[in-house]
């Protein structure tokens, strides 16, 4: 079972939180803080698994995470999940994000950034719902996931583009402005884009 999916940025700011097991509100925040604390300390050249966090369930649970540029994707799972399986599931979810938000065909998370997640928190949840349902992996066929999400998107667009507007706006902003912005601000932040997907 997947107990929780946490996405936060390099500063530990939560970007998406989804618990599949009940925890009281303050406990949830504590879990997020502890998880960030554990994960952020780790270099990029160590393994993507962490065991024995004390908050969610103790020794039977592990954290499986990926770090993409500014974002950490963390899955808290119990011992019945396959580590590498979940690791690839994270990648798969990111592919889907890439396809849905950036509408590019290269099926890549490369062009998805924190901004997309912030602005489409609800959408991100809907995508997750198609992949993980009540803590169980529902679907791992990417085309199917994208098809389901597209179905819902069409419904939305037909309604008159309330949510479609910011999506278009954001992608427009990104395409227009981003290449210049980093030069003006901070070279280090050019890394919003992930250079390569597979850390393996």
């Amino acid at each position: 079972m997947i107990k929780a999916i946490l996405i936060f940025n390099n500063h530990g700011k939560p970007r998406l939180i989804r618990f599949y097991q009940y925890f009281a509100e303050d406990m949830q925040q504590q879990i997020i803080r502890e998880t960030f604390h554990l994960v952020s300390k780790r270099d990029d050249n160590v393994c993507n698994f962490l065991e024995g966090g004390s908050l969610i369930g103790g020794s039977d649970y592990k954290l499986i995470y990926r770090h993409y540029a500014t974002l950490y994707f963390v899955f808290c799972v119990d011992s019945s999940e396959s580590e590498l399986g979940i690791l690839d599931l994270i990648q798969l979810i990111c592919f889907v994000f890439g396809q849905v938000f950036v509408e590019t065909l290269d099926k890549c998370f490369e062009n998805v950034c924190e901004l997309d997640l912030i602005f489409h928190m609800d959408k991100v949840h809907y995508i997750l719902q198609e992949v993980v349902m009540g803590g169980m992996v529902l679907e791992t066929n990417m085309n199917e996931i994208v098809a389901q999400v597209e179905l819902q998107n069409r419904m939305e667009k037909s309604e008159g583009g309330l949510s479609g507007a910011p999506a278009r706006a954001v992608s427009a902003v990104k395409n227009m402005n981003l290449p210049e912005i980093p030069r003006n601000i901070n070279i280090g932040d050019i890394n919003i884009k992930v250079p390569s997907l597979s850390p393996f």
Binding site: L87, L92, M121, G134, M136, T140, Q152
Partner: protein
């Protein structure tokens, strides 16, 4: 990053302005996100969110807010909740949105509900009807949403409401719906297995669904089912093997490929199922050798996900009945994992080794060097896994080295390892290190286990260990103590309090002084102070002056618990009689049944208090009533029983009863006088009965016994009494549900009777044999209870022999027919509150299926068939002198729809379970 976000956001308004009304709504969300990213301190964030929440509050209560705006408000509320702020006032609006809105509103509403509400939240009740409606909707998306929310947040008691609809969805034409329905049912199975037992056949259909996605989700269920009882699903092995073969052979649509590996997650699931099925079963294992071999061979492509499959495959090979050829290949795979430069694979390799060394310790030897390297690895996770591996290969020879390594790195030493300890001093010394280094990071269990180890040993053998512990702790306490972790201090104070007296050379005053010193330290937590004070209480008297000083100084403490303890300490040290009475040395009698409260409880009950119910039961009683209102009559008083205890007598029979759940006292030995029935005082029955509570006369035989005495605990009253019991049940049924007037009480007239610790027993004396009958009553049903007890008897004065006995009883042993007429049944039916409905198998091999089935049940479970009218039958039974259970059976196609009612919340479930078993075995 936040810089970029900020700059980007400043560029956004221009784009938004071109939008019309829709953009204005998102303005607020945009504003919120923008402000949040600009924040520099937590304090600012708090203020901002506070303002935001009050704005939301205003908006939701305004009548002008449109549904569309509500959607956006909900997202803002989710945002606030995500950051950890309470937006509970929006919950009800989330539900409203799901209830009233169009598809898009529903979507946000359901999402908010599943994020905001947990399974126990009362507002969920408001959602039931909406979900029911949406489940029946023709809009696919609505059905999907309803299924998702059902799987996400629905609690146990709401499942029956949606179960039939979800079940129907298993045959929905759309795959996506079937898939979600299967997962929703799996979730139901996890939280309430009883309720979905009847749909196993449908799971089977899902497994053979033409859509691979549906099949894949049904594997979740099978994995769970097989984990619980592998034997029941052996016949499916062939199907799983075929599925895996087809997947490997590329028979699935290309869609399912991930990095050109066909359906990897599906493969992982299948391999797990196969390993469970093949475990310790040669013939089943043989079926899968070929496909496992194929799997190992195929998974040689170099991608992450293939390693995931490989890992499962290796585990499977080592779990099932061994085959040399496969083991060899798997061992080579493990080697590849362990030696891999990729750190994730190394980790999995270590994990696989940890798993494998239990079967084949030699494999670890091959990788000795790698393991040693891993011990020095910079990654904490790898180190930890390596230690786990070392822990598995610990033996008497290598224990000192391994424990040293463990201490070096992590102070992570499972107490179990230390059972190999070569000698006492090493053990205590190591434990000292563990506690002082690991300290409060240790799991709660570790100190407890250690103390138990010390406490449970035999006095003579382990006194040395204890002595050593005392000595070593005194040395520790004489040194610097401020850095010691709390749990170590607690352990030390407990040991000193308990065993300091063993060490005669030590001055008591010294011990008291050391402990008192601890109390003065600032760093000592109040919990530890309590431990220390308890220890001081236990140190034998004689140092009244020191103790009084201490009590005096603590009496002004701010901590009320400490003040209380200090007060107790003072009293105890001044009153030696009281002290002796309270602190009997080496006595550890715990009255887990809380018998000392009996008087209080019976008084309270007499004064009209409601009988105690454990929390889970209260919970269940609060559960959703899905019946029309007309049925729900006032809940009748459920039976309560108080044990009245007699002091142990010459013939002492003690029985310890333990249920298979963690509850206390599964069987209550009933024997209390019950003077108030549902209809008032019941004097006439009791008045004529001989005094029940006088054991003395009855117990005489024990002392007269010359030869061995045999005592048979009887789970049921002897056969001669059964007619009486039936009579009694028919007599008492009118009294209503709560009447647990002890049936066995009627047996007193049959000659020799005695009552013992609340038991009613019946000693038939004949020369050298004495037969005692006990009536055991089951108060709280359980599937199984185990019964243990001892018989003590004297063959000659002064020589007491003890015989232990034990047995296992199931609920079925306590079920008795309840003879009622149809009218009485009807009356009783309406007065019962807890019900369960389920479809059972109908035995169709004879002319009248209903009658055959009911007779089969009657034979198996001693039920009473009250009446059969057409396609319906009514059956009644009761728990032996406890709660009744009424069964209403109706032929429904090829199944028997059974509806059970009882005043006891758990009873129907158990009876149902036994009915299912009885029918399955038929």
């Amino acid at each position: 990053m936040s810089d970029v976000v900020e700059k980007t956001l400043t560029a956004l308004p221009g784009l938004f302005e071109s939008q019309t009304g829709a953009a204005k709504i998102t303005n607020r969300l945009r504003q919120l996100i923008k402000s949040i990213t600009e924040l520099t301190s937590k304090h600012e964030e708090e203020n901002l969110i506070k303002r935001e929440l009050s704005a939301i509050k205003e908006q939701v209560s305004s009548p002008n807010t449109t549904m569309k705006q509500m959607r956006e408000i909900m997202v803002r509320a989710m945002y606030c909740e995500m950051l950890g702020y309470d937006a509970s006032f929006t919950y009800i609006h989330a539900i409203k949105l799901a209830q009233q809105g169009g598809v898009l509103e529903k979507r946000v509403g359901y999402l908010a509900v599943s994020l905001f509400l947990n399974e126990g939240h009362e507002l969920l009740l408001l959602l039931v009807n909406t979900v029911l409606k949406d489940l029946q909707s023709t809009n696919l998306i609505e059905v999907c949403m309803a299924l998702t929310v059902v799987a996400q947040v629905f609690p146990k008691d709401m499942i029956p409401a949606v179960l039939p609809l979800v079940e129907d969805k298993l045959s929905h034409p759309k795959e996506i719906i079937r898939r979600k329905a299967v997962l929703a049912l799996y979730k139901f199975y996890l939280i309430a297995p009883n309720q979905v037992q009847h749909i196993h056949a449908k799971f089977c259909k899902a497994l053979s669904d033409k859509d691979p996605g549906v099949m894949a989700s049904s594997l979740h269920i099978y994995l769970q089912l097989i984990r619980e009882s592998p034997d029941s699903y052996k016949d499916l092995t062939g199907s799983f093997v075929t599925i895996l073969k087809q997947v490997l052979g590329g028979k699935l649509p290309v869609d399912f490929n991930y990095h050109s590996v066909p359906a990897p997650w599906l493969q992982i699931q299948l391999l797990r199922i196969l390993s469970l099925l093949g475990k310790e079963d040669q013939s089943t294992s043989e079926l899968m050798y070929e496909v496992l071999d194929e799997s190992l061979r195929r998974a040689e492509m170099n991608h992450n996900i293939t390693y995931a499959i490989l890992y499962e495959c290796v585990k499977a090979v080592y779990t099932i009945h061994p085959k040399a050829e496969l083991l060899e290949k798997a061992a080579r795979c493990i080697g590849n994992f362990v030696l891999s430069p990729k750190i994730n694979l190394k980790y999995l390799g270590l994990k696989a080794l940890t798993y494998v060394v239990q079967h084949d310790a030699k494999l670890a030897l091959q990788h000795q060097m790698t393991i040693i390297e891993c011990l020095d690895h910079s990654d904490f996770t790898i180190k930890r896994e390596t230690l786990e591996l070392l822990f598995r290969i610990t033996n008497a020879q290598n224990v000192t080295v391994i424990v040293e390594k463990m201490l070096d790195f992590l102070c992570y030493v499972p107490i179990k390892t230390l059972t190999f300890a070569p000698d006492n001093s090493w053990f205590i010394q190591t434990m000292n290190d563990v506690f002082s280094i690991g300290g409060d990071l240790l799991q709660q269990d570790d100190p407890n286990n250690f103390l138990r180890l010390l406490a449970e040993g035999k006095p003579e053998e382990d006194d040395q260990l204890r002595l050593y512990a005392v000595e070593s702790y005194l040395t520790v306490l004489k040194g610097h103590t401020s850095h010691l972790p709390q749990c170590f201090l607690q352990v030390m104070s407990w040991v000193l309090g308990e065993y300091a007296h063993l060490q005669e050379s030590v001055d008591r005053r010294e011990v008291i002084r050391l402990l008192t010193q601890l109390l003065d330290q600032r760093s000592v937590s109040s919990e530890t102070r309590v431990w220390i004070l308890s220890a001081l209480t236990k140190i034998p008297e004689g140092q009244t002056d020191l103790i009084l000083d201490l009590a005096e100084s603590l009496s002004s403490s701010q901590d009320t618990v400490l003040r209380q303890q200090a007060q107790e300490l003072r009293h105890l040290s001044q009153d030696s009689q009281l002290r002796e009475w309270v602190l009997v040395e080496n006595s550890c009698a715990v009255d887990s049944s809380l018998s000392f409260l009996d008087g209080f409880v019976s008084e309270a009950l007499a004064a009209g208090a409601a009988p105690y119910k454990p929390p889970h039961q209260r919970q269940e009683e609060l559960s959703l009533n899905l019946e029309p209102y007309s049925f729900s009559l006032p809940v009748s008083l459920s039976s309560c029983s108080i044990t009245d205890r007699q002091s142990p007598t010459l013939l002492s029979v003690s029985s310890g009863l333990s249920g298979n759940s963690a509850e206390l006292s599964t069987l209550i030995l009933e024997g209390v006088k019950r003077v108030w029935g549902k209809d008032g005082y019941l004097p006439q029955k009791e008045a004529t009965a001989p005094p029940v509570d006088e054991p003395s006369a009855a117990v005489q035989p024990a002392s007269q016994q010359e030869a061995a005495e045999r005592i048979e605990p009887r789970p049921e009253p002897s056969t001669q009494n059964q007619d009486k019991q039936q009579l009694a049940s028919s007599l008492f049924v009118g009294l209503g549900v709560g009447s647990s007037v002890s049936l066995v009480r009627k047996l007193f007239y049959d000659g020799f009777t005695a009552s013992l610790r609340g038991n009613v027993m019946d000693c038939l004396e004949a020369r050298s044999t004495s037969v005692c009958h006990y009536a055991l009553l089951m108060d709280d049903p359980h599937t199984n209870v185990s019964l243990t007890g001892t018989v003590s008897y004297q063959t000659q004065p002064g020589h007491t022999n003890t015989l232990p006995f034990s047995g296992t009883l199931s609920t079925a042993d306590f079920i008795r027919p309840l003879v009622v007429t149809t009218e009485e049944y009807g009356k009783l039916w309406l007065s019962l509150s807890h019900d369960v409905k389920q479809n059972l198998k109908l035995l169709t091999d004879a002319g009248d299926p209903l009658r055959t089935t009911l007779n089969a049940l009657k034979d198996a479970l001693q039920l009473h068939v009250v009446d059969i009218i057409g396609s319906e039958g009514i059956v009644a039974c009761r728990l032996l002198s406890g709660a009744p259970c009424l069964l209403h059976c109706r032929v429904n196609g090829a199944a028997l729809a059974m509806w059970l009612r009882s005043p006891h919340p758990a009873l129907p479930d158990f009876i149902l379970y036994h009915c299912q078993r009885a029918l399955a075995h038929h």
